[in-house]
Symmetry: C2
Subunit: 694 residues, 2 copies
C-alpha cells in the first residue's frame, strides 16, 4: 500500500504542467462572455466598441463608430462582424500584440477610469473567432502620419499566447466618399453566433451605450440590412482623465513590500511623495516618524518589520503626537462622470416622460480607489405600470446587460423601501414595480466585476452605500413629485368647480329667475380659501426655448404678499431670457422675485424662458415661496437649505472637481480636504441640492 | 490635429506591455473568491480541502482531513489556517510549482470529473496570504517512500508567476500519537480574514462537504478552540474515474485544426481512433469517407478545407450512403456520482425528517462532455414552513455557497411550478416556500462556472433540462407522499370513530338499557366499507435494523383477496430478514406476497426487517396491491411499470455504468448505445423507477 501510494504521488506530480493563459481562456471562454451563441456576438460588439470609445477618448477625438453584422451561413450560425472607428489607429508593430496576445495592454497598471483594463477583451474575440470558424481576424489600421493603412490577418497560437500574423500589406484606405481616411481602425471577424433582438441584443447594447456616451455617433447595420443611427447629442468630450498614483489607504502589505523592493529612490520622503497620491511633504515626514524610519533611508533597504510599520502608519494605526497622520483624498481627475444633464438628455431621448430626476454624487474613495456614483430615474404614465421597473446598469460608461440579479448595483436598488416613495414593492424589498426606469452608473478607477465577462459588479460596501444613498435621494424627489401631482389634481377639481360649474349655475339660475347674474368673486374666495400656484414648463419648438409660466392666485378674503423662487439649470449652462419681472439670483440655480401685494381674487404672473437647452433638458420647475400663508402648488422655502446651497457652492468653486482641467499633479494638490480612511463621505451630492427633482 | 493624433497612437502603443497571469489575479483577487474578509477564509479552506479530497481520491485513500483556524490578531483581522490530510503528499521538487505558480496543474487537459481543474486555487491562497500579511505559506509534505517530510516556505513572485522558496529542510513528521506519519500534506498560512458563523461559513462549507463526501472524515477546530467532527459514513471510496478522450461532438473547428497540426499519427484512422472517444474502426472509416479523405492520409497534411469537412462529418452534416455516421456515446466512467443512498444518508444525517426522496439521473452528454445530475428532497414538519426552501448546490462534490440566484441549478429549480407538488410558490415561479430542502449535484467532466471563484454554474441548456426533469420527478414523489398523508389522516379519523367512539357508545347504551353489548362488526364494515392498509417503517435501535409492518384490514361486507408488493433497498445492499410469509422477488427492489382470502372484518399482517442499513437509510415503504377492490393506503400496481423496471434492470446489468470498474478504455467500448448529437436523452433516471419516493 505504502509503495503504491508513493508511486501515485510521483505519477500525479509528473502529469502536472504549466497552462498558457490563452489555453485557460479558450477552455473557459464563458468567463469572457462567450457562453452562448446569442451572447457571443454581443460580447464581440461590446469589446470592439469599448476599445474604440476608449481610444477616441484618450486621443480626444469625437468618436464615429460603425457596426455591421452580416449573416454568412444561417444553417451553421456563422456571422461576420465589422466595426470601424475614426480613432487614432494602432501602429503596425503593435497590432499583433493588441489582437493576438492575451493580457497585453496599457491600462492594467494605470489608476484611472477606462472601459477596458486587462488587455483581454478584443484578443478574446480573435480567439473565439478562430476556435469556432478556424479563421483569423482582419485588421485595417491607419495612424495619422502614415500615407497608407496596414491590412493584416491576426490569429492566435493558444499554446504559447502569441499572435499568428499573415497576409500583411499596406493599402490606401478610402472613406465612403472616396477621400482618404486620416486615421482609424476597422476590425472584421467571423464567428459562430446567433443574432437576436430584444432586451439582450446588440441593438439594445448600442442603444444603452449611446445613452451614457452622448458624445459618440453610432451607426448599426443589422443582418437584415436595416440601419440604425444614434446621433451625437453633445460635442463635449468626456473630461480628460489622468492616471493617478495609488493612495496609501488602498495598499496591501504585499504590494508595499514589492514597491519598496523595486524602488530605486534615494530616500523615503521621495519614495512616498512620488509613488503615492495624497502624501504631502509634511505627511511623508510624519509617516516616517510614525513608522520609526529615517527619512534618509533607501526604500530598498527596508526590512519586513519596517514595511509593516509603514503600512500601519498608512492605515492610521501609528500616530505622531497622539494623532493619526492626515492624508489628502486621492485626486478625482482620474474619473469622468457623465454628469446629470447628459444623463437626462440620454434618458429623455430614449423614453418620453414627464418626471426625470438625475444626480451625480460627489467622488469618494473605497480602499484608496476613487469612485463616483450617478443615478437617474424616469417616471411616467407612458411606461408599463404592473411590471418591475427597468434597471439600466453601467460601469465606466459601459452597459451591463447580464446577471442583473447578482450585481451590486441591483442589490443597492433592492435594498431601498420604494413603497415610501410611491412605487409598488412586495415586502419592501427587491426591484420595485411601476411605470419607471432606474439608471445607475459607477465611474471608478477599479471596477470590480464578478467575472472577466464584465457583466455584474462584485460586492463592495462603499459603492453599495453610495448607490443606496443616491437612490434614497432620488426616491425623495419622486415622492415629492407624486405628492405634488396629487395635490394639484385635487386643486384642479376645485378649480373646475369654481371657474366652470359655479358660474354656469349662477347664469342658469339668473336666467330662470330673470335676474342679473350675481358677482361670484366673494363666494369663490370663500369656497377656495387658499392661495394657489400654477406652474407650467414647456418646450417651445419655434424658439427652441423652454417657456416657464407661474401664476399665483389669491383666493382668500385677505390681501397677501409673497416672494416666489424657482430652480433653473444655471449650472448646466442654461440662460434665463425674457424675464421681465427682473428679480435676483438667490443662489446658484435659484432665482427669486418679490411679488406685489395681491388683493382677494387677484392674481400675479411670472414668465421667462430658458435658452441654450435642448428638448428634454428641463421639463419641470420647482416653485418655492416666502410668506406666511401656505401656497398650494409651491413649497415653503427652507432658509437653512438656501444657506447650505450657498456654502456648498463656495466649496465647489474652490475645489473645481468636475472640470479636471486644473493641471495639478497629485503631489501638488495639498489644499484638498483630508478625509477619514475607509469612511464613506457624507451626503454631498452636488446636484439635488434643492429638492430631489428639477 | 492630425500630427497630435499620430503622436497619441504611438504613445498609447508604447505604454502597452504584457501582464503576468499572477498580476492579473492579484489585482482581480475577487475573481478567485477573495472579495471580502468573511469570504476569504472560506475560499482558502475550500481550495485546501478540495485539493486534499482530489488527491486522496486519485490515490484511492480514504481521506482524513483536519482543518484548524486560529485568531492571530483580532484587531487587524489576521487568521491562521492549517489544513492537514493523509493523502499521498507532494514530491519535494513539485511543491513550489503546485503552491507558487498559477495555472500549473495536472487536471486541465484531462477529461474526467475532479474538484480542481485549473491549477489556480491553492496558489491563489498563497498569493492572497502574501498580499495581505507579507508572509509565505508553510508546506509540510511527506510521500510514502521517503523517510522524512519536506518542510518549506512558499511565496510568489507575481511579476513573473514564479514561486519563491525559503527555509527548506527535511524533518520527521510525527502524528499525534508520536508514530511517524506515512504520507500526507499540511499547509499553514496566515491571511487577512474574518471568521463568521451562519449560512455562509467555514462550518457550513465543511458540513455540506461531508454530505456529498460521505467517505471523508473531517475534523474542524474553530477560532474558539471548539472542535467539530463529521465522521466517515461509508468505507466505500467514490468510484474511480478514468480520463477520457474528447468526443467528436464536442470539438470546435479551431481545436480540430490544432489537433491535426500537432498530430504525429501516420494515418487518419489511427488519429481518429486514438484521439477521440466514441469512434469505432468502422466509424473512423466512415468519417474519412464522408469527409472525402483517404484513410491513409497523415493528419498533419490536412488542408483547412479538409479539416472543415472532417468536422462536418463529426457533426452529422456529411453522410455516407445517405446516413449520418453513428458515433458511440462517450464512456461515463469519467464520472463519479454520489448515488442516491449516500445522498440520503448525508441528508438524513443533517436534517431529521420523514420524507426524503433522491434520484441519480442516467449520465448524458452536452457538447461532447459527459455529465450527470443527482437531486435530493427532504420534506418534514420539523423544518421552517414559511420561508424559501433551502437549496443545497454542489458541483463535482464541492458545495457552492455564493451567488445562488445566478446559478443554473437554482434557475432549474425556479422553473418548476412547485404549487402542483404541494409547495407554496408565488406565481408558480422562483424558489418555492415550505418545510423542505432541495439538493442538486452536478457531476461533470467540464463544470462551467460563471467565474473562477467557482460559485455558480453558467447557463447550459442540457444541464438545465436534466436538472429540471429530475426536479419534476422528485416533485411527483412529493405530491404522492402528501396525498397519501392526507388520505391516511382522513382514514385515521374514521378509524378512531369506529374503534374507540362507536364501541364506547354501544357499551354505554347497553349498560343504560341493561342489555348485552351488541356485536358491532357488521355496523363497522357498513360504515367503513373499505379495505385499509396500514404501513409502518421504523428504525430498531437494538437490532440496528429497519422493522417494517404492513396490516391489511377488510372492512367490507364481502370476502377479499389480494397480493401485496413493497419496494425495498435491494440495490443499495439492504437485506430482507425475518420475512416469515416468504413471498417472492417480483423485480429488482420489489417483493410480493399472496395474501389469504380475508373475510369481512378480518385482517392480515406482513412483517419483515431490513438489515445492512444505517439509521435514516430507509424511512418509508411504499405498498402496492394486485386485486379488484381499491385499498386505502396502498397503490394499485401498474403491471406495465413492473415490466419497465425489469427491462431497465436488464440494461443496467449489461452496461454496468455505475461501477466503473470494467477496465474498458474508450476505444474498446463499441457496444455502447449510439445517441443523437446534442439531444438530451430521455427520462431514464435509474432510481425512482417505482414512484418518486422510497
Amino acid at each position: 500500500m505504502v509503495i503504491r501510494v508513493a508511486g501515485i504521488a510521483d505519477k500525479m506530480a509528473k502529469n502536472q504542467k504549466q497552462i498558457a493563459i490563452s489555453e485557460f481562456f479558450e477552455k473557459n471562454k464563458h468567463f469572457l462572455g462567450f457562453d452562448s451563441l446569442q451572447r457571443s456576438i454581443i460580447t464581440a460588439v461590446k469589446e470592439a466598441v469599448d476599445n474604440s470609445l476608449d481610444a477616441c477618448e484618450e486621443a480626444r477625438i469625437l468618436p464615429d463608430i460603425k457596426v455591421k453584422i452580416t449573416k454568412i451561413d444561417s444553417k451553421k450560425d456563422i456571422l461576420e462582424l465589422q466595426t470601424e472607428d475614426n480613432g487614432p489607429g494602432i501602429p503596425q508593430k503593435s497590432i499583433e500584440k493588441v489582437f493576438g496576445q492575451l493580457l497585453f495592454g496599457s491600462r492594467f497598471h494605470a489608476i484611472r477610469q477606462s472601459r477596458g483594463q486587462q488587455g483581454i477583451g478584443i484578443t478574446g474575440v480573435v480567439m473565439y473567432s478562430q476556435l469556432t470558424t478556424g479563421k483569423p481576424t482582419h485588421v485595417l489600421s491607419k495612424v495619422a502620419n502614415d500615407p497608407t493603412a496596414v491590412s493584416v490577418n491576426i490569429g492566435l497560437d493558444t499554446r504559447k499566447n502569441k499572435a499568428v500574423k499573415s497576409e500583411q500589406t499596406r493599402i490606401i484606405w478610402e472613406n465612403d466618399d472616396l477621400t482618404m481616411k486620416e486615421h482609424g481602425l476597422r476590425v472584421t471577424t467571423r464567428m459562430k453566433a446567433k443574432y437576436q433582438r430584444g432586451r439582450q441584443s446588440v441593438f439594445q447594447y448600442l442603444r444603452m451605450t449611446s445613452i451614457v456616451n452622448p458624445h459618440a455617433e453610432i451607426t448599426f447595420t443589422d443582418p437584415d440590412g436595416e440601419t440604425y443611427h444614434w446621433p451625437r447629442v453633445t460635442e463635449r468630450l468626456p473630461s480628460k482623465v489622468d492616471a493617478i498614483k495609488p493612495h496609501p489607504h488602498g495598499i496591501e502589505l504585499g504590494q508595499l513590500q514589492r514597491m519598496c523592493r523595486e524602488s530605486s529612490d534615494s530616500r523615503m520622503t521621495v519614495f512616498l511623495r512620488q509613488n503615492f497620491s495624497g502624501v504631502s511633504m509634511r505627511a511623508a515626514k510624519e509617516l516616517c516618524e510614525a513608522a520609526e524610519l529615517e527619512i534618509t533611508m533607501k526604500p530598498k533597504s527596508l526590512k519586513p518589520d519596517d514595511v509593516r510599520a509603514l503600512l500601519e502608519a498608512f492605515q492610521g494605526e501609528r500616530e505622531v503626537n497622539g494623532k493619526a497622520i492626515k492624508l489628502l483624498s486621492p485626486p478625482t481627475n482620474c474619473l469622468s462622470p457623465i454628469e446629470e444633464m447628459l444623463i437626462k438628455k440620454g434618458l429623455s431621448k430614449t423614453i418620453d416622460s414627464k418626471f426625470v430626476a438625475t444626480m451625480t454624487r460627489a467622488p469618494t474613495v473605497s480602499h484608496g480607489n476613487p469612485f463616483q456614483v450617478e443615478v437617474g430615474l424616469i417616471f411616467g404614465e407612458g411606461m408599463v405600470a404592473d411590471k418591475h421597473v427597468e434597471v439600466l446598469r453601467f460601469a465606466n460608461r459601459v452597459p451591463l446587460m447580464y446577471q442583473q440579479g447578482g450585481c451590486l448595483l441591483t442589490k443597492a436598488i433592492e435594498s431601498v423601501d420604494w413603497r415610501q416613495y410611491g412605487l409598488e414593492q412586495a415586502g419592501g424589498k427587491g426591484v420595485p414595480k411601476g411605470p419607471a426606469a432606474i439608471l445607475v452608473h459607477l465611474a471608478s478607477t477599479n471596477v470590480q466585476f464578478t467575472s472577466e465577462a464584465k457583466e455584474a459588479l462584485s460586492d463592495n460596501e462603499f459603492v453599495f452605500e453610495e448607490t443606496r444613498r443616491a437612490m434614497l435621494e432620488m426616491g425623495r424627489g419622486l415622492r415629492k413629485h407624486l405628492e405634488k401631482k396629487k395635490k394639484m389634481a385635487k386643486t384642479r377639481e376645485k378649480f373646475e368647480l369654481i371657474n366652470d360649474i359655479l358660474p354656469a349655475i349662477a347664469e342658469k339660475s339668473a336666467s330662470i329667475l330673470e335676474r342679473p347674474i350675481p358677482d361670484l368673486a366673494g363666494s369663490i374666495t370663500k369656497i377656495m380659501s387658499a392661495v394657489i400656484c400654477n406652474e407650467s414648463t414647456t418646450w417651445n419648438k419655434e424658439t427652441k426655448q423652454v417657456d416657464v409660466s407661474i401664476t399665483l392666485f389669491n383666493y382668500t378674503s385677505r390681501a397677501r404678499s409673497y416672494s416666489l423662487l424657482v430652480n433653473w439649470p444655471e449650472k448646466s449652462g442654461g440662460e434665463m431670457v425674457g424675464n421681465e419681472r427682473g428679480g435676483r439670483k438667490e443662489a446658484m440655480g435659484i432665482w427669486g422675485w418679490k411679488i406685489e401685494t395681491l388683493e382677494p381674487g387677484e392674481k400675479a404672473v411670472v414668465e421667462y424662458s430658458l435658452s441654450n437647452l435642448e428638448k428634454g433638458d428641463w421639463t419641470e420647475t420647482e416653485v418655492f415661496f416666502r410668506g406666511s400663508q401656505d401656497v398650494i402648488g409651491a413649497t415653503k422655502l427652507d432658509e437653512k437649505m438656501l444657506v447650505e446651497i450657498r456654502k456648498q457652492e463656495e466649496i465647489l468653486n474652490q475645489s473645481d472637481v468636475p472640470s479636471g482641467d486644473n493641471g495639478e499633479t497629485s503631489e501638488n494638490n495639498e489644499d484638498g480636504v483630508a478625509y477619514e480612511p475607509g469612511v464613506v463621505e457624507g451626503d454631498s451630492g452636488q446636484t439635488t441640492l434643492f429638492g430631489g427633482e428639477n
